[in-house]
């Protein structure tokens, strides 16, 4: 009987699993199930090129539609999985249809956190995760539009930069005392904060949102302090969490995400997971991690395919991320740890900088702005667990290559 792999979730991870299976010679059936009606696409350009109207949405497609036909990958678009029966090995969808599988791959990614305040459902309040949402937001932004962004994380700041490029009036409302606090080191966060201010973004730090108000559509954001910010459009970027509800009662072990080992296997045989939806063990990092990144989706997608093909590839890639805001390219590798020492390294050539996060002689993370050399060396130093000193890292004239 023909084998069948059912991949639920058609984002970066799901598409990678399908492609890598075919590249590896898998001759069974492959079904790739996507919640959205669109040909699978990459999300990073949505908050950048698509919002700035530099790219048509089609340019974000990961592969053309013909690619899936040529590779006998059955695209099932516009359907969501609602339950899985791991005993019967079948998945139920929201249109009440079923699909059976020999191997199941969970790639459902994340879902948006919603803003739990009054007025959050008014017209003019947007989120940004899908291409439809990006196009909707892009359609509302023009010169002079007053945009209030709730949440100073990656999405919030990338949207702020794009909206300034479109000459909108931009406010960023952040609950904490630092932008990008969850992922960026303080030196990097303050560099980007300053750059946004220089580009005319108005920040409201340590500010909780009390409510959104307006008659027919949103007109203002009221902060807990009582201050009111007039807005034509509100963009909410307050994080995501793994999309796990459909796995309730399945027996698949879930904590913050679907728990997988370094081969992307869940606790059940024939059930794998890849991408944002996972909580993973990584040989280079201690403990369990939820890594929301393209790199992680691609790396895990390849490992899942290898596992289904009977190989035992392990996750060894050092995690990396990137962002773009104005003319700053942020590149990050590794994961800083609790108790790390932060070492800043200026870059007088580009005006950028890097921050290294070290413990003793061990480098745990590097975050660079317009300093790709620091980033590339840092990534290799982390991978090889090479010894470093703060003096070497801080000295712009010390050639980091000597450490490799």
């Amino acid at each position: 009987m023909t084998q069948k792999t059912l991949i639920v979730g058609a984002g970066q991870a799901g598409v990678q699993v399908a492609m890598s299976l075919r590249q590896g010679g898998y001759d069974g059936e492959i079904s790739l199930v996507g919640k959205e009606p669109h040909v699978p696409y990459q999300r990073p350009p949505l908050s950048k090129q698509v919002l700035k109207k530099e790219w048509a949405a089609e340019r974000c497609q990961l592969r053309h539609l013909e690619f899936y036909q040529q590779h006998s990958i059955d695209l099932m678009l516009g359907v969501s999985a609602v339950a899985v029966d791991t005993g019967q090995q079948r998945v139920r969808f929201d249109d009440d249809s079923f699909a059976e599988y020999n191997d199941l791959v969970i790639c459902t990614g994340s879902r948006l956190n919603r803003l739990p305040v009054n007025g959050a459902d008014l017209p003019g309040v947007c989120y940004l995760r899908t291409v439809d949402e990006a196009l909707e937001l892009a359609g509302m932004l023009r010169s002079g539009t007053r945009l209030a962004i709730i949440g100073g994380g990656y999405i919030g700041l990338e949207v702020a930069a794009a909206a300034r490029a479109l000459d909108c009036e931009v406010h960023v409302i952040e609950a904490l005392d630092q932008v990008m606090k969850r992922s960026a080191l303080p030196g990097i966060a303050s560099f980007l904060h300053r750059q946004h201010e220089q580009n005319g973004v108005l920040f409201h730090m340590n500010s909780k949102v009390d409510q959104l108000s307006g008659t027919d559509r949103v007109e203002a954001v009221t902060l807990a302090s009582g201050k009111s910010i007039a807005a034509d459009v509100v963009m909410v970027g307050v994080g995501v969490r793994p999309d796990l509800r459909w796995l309730d009662g399945s027996g698949i072990e879930v904590q913050r995400g679907v728990r997988v080992d370094a081969q992307c296997r869940s606790n059940l045989a024939h059930v794998y997971a890849a991408g944002d939806v996972t909580e993973l063990q990584h040989p280079v990092l201690d403990g369990w991690h939820v890594l929301e990144s393209v790199q992680n989706a691609v790396s895990q997608g390849k490992i899942v395919a290898a596992a289904i093909l009977g190989k035992d590839d392990q996750y060894v890639d050092v995690p990396w991320f990137w962002s773009e805001q104005y003319d700053s390219r942020l590149q990050m590798a590794g994961i800083p740890r609790e108790g790390d020492q932060w070492v800043e390294r200026p870059n007088s050539e580009t005006g950028g900088m890097s921050v290294f996060s070290i413990q003793g002689q061990r480098l745990n993370g590097v975050q660079s702005i317009n300093s790709p050399r620091d980033y590339m060396v840092g990534r290799q130093l982390i991978a090889h667990a090479s010894a470093v000193t703060p003096q070497q890292l801080a000295d712009e004239h010390f050639n980091l290559k000597e450490l490799l």
């Binding site: 393209v294 390219r329 317009n370 300093s371 590339m376 290559k401």
Partner: protein
């Protein structure tokens, strides 16, 4: 349409077609043997590394600093290395010959 000659990582050669104004990376990632191009063309990941054969390097603008700095740290860096996301194809590139760099 222009034609590009590509040698893949298994030393197989392919003749492929491209539209002028495509980025070379966008053409190469369509194939099973192609590049992974994880960052989607942002010059951030160096996973679309190719070698330009013969004199073809002269037919493209020189590397910008960011591309240069990513490339020089790759294990397989050579003088004719380029990130294919930074190469815009034009009519004059008909017959371009490239080799895919090994995966890092």
């Amino acid at each position: 349409m222009i034609t590009i000659n590509v040698t893949d990582r298994d030393n197989q050669t392919h003749k492929i077609e491209a539209h002028p104004n495509d980025r070379l990376m966008e053409v190469l990632r369509e194939f099973d043997w192609g590049v992974s191009a994880i960052c989607g063309g942002m010059c951030s990941c160096a996973t679309c590394h190719v070698f330009l054969e013969g004199d073809w390097a002269e037919q493209f603008p020189q590397r910008e600093m960011d591309e240069e700095e990513l490339l020089e740290f790759l294990d397989y860096f050579k003088p004719n290395s380029r990130l294919s996301c930074q190469l815009e194809l034009l009519d004059k590139h008909d017959g371009l010959t490239v080799t895919l760099a090994p995966e890092e």
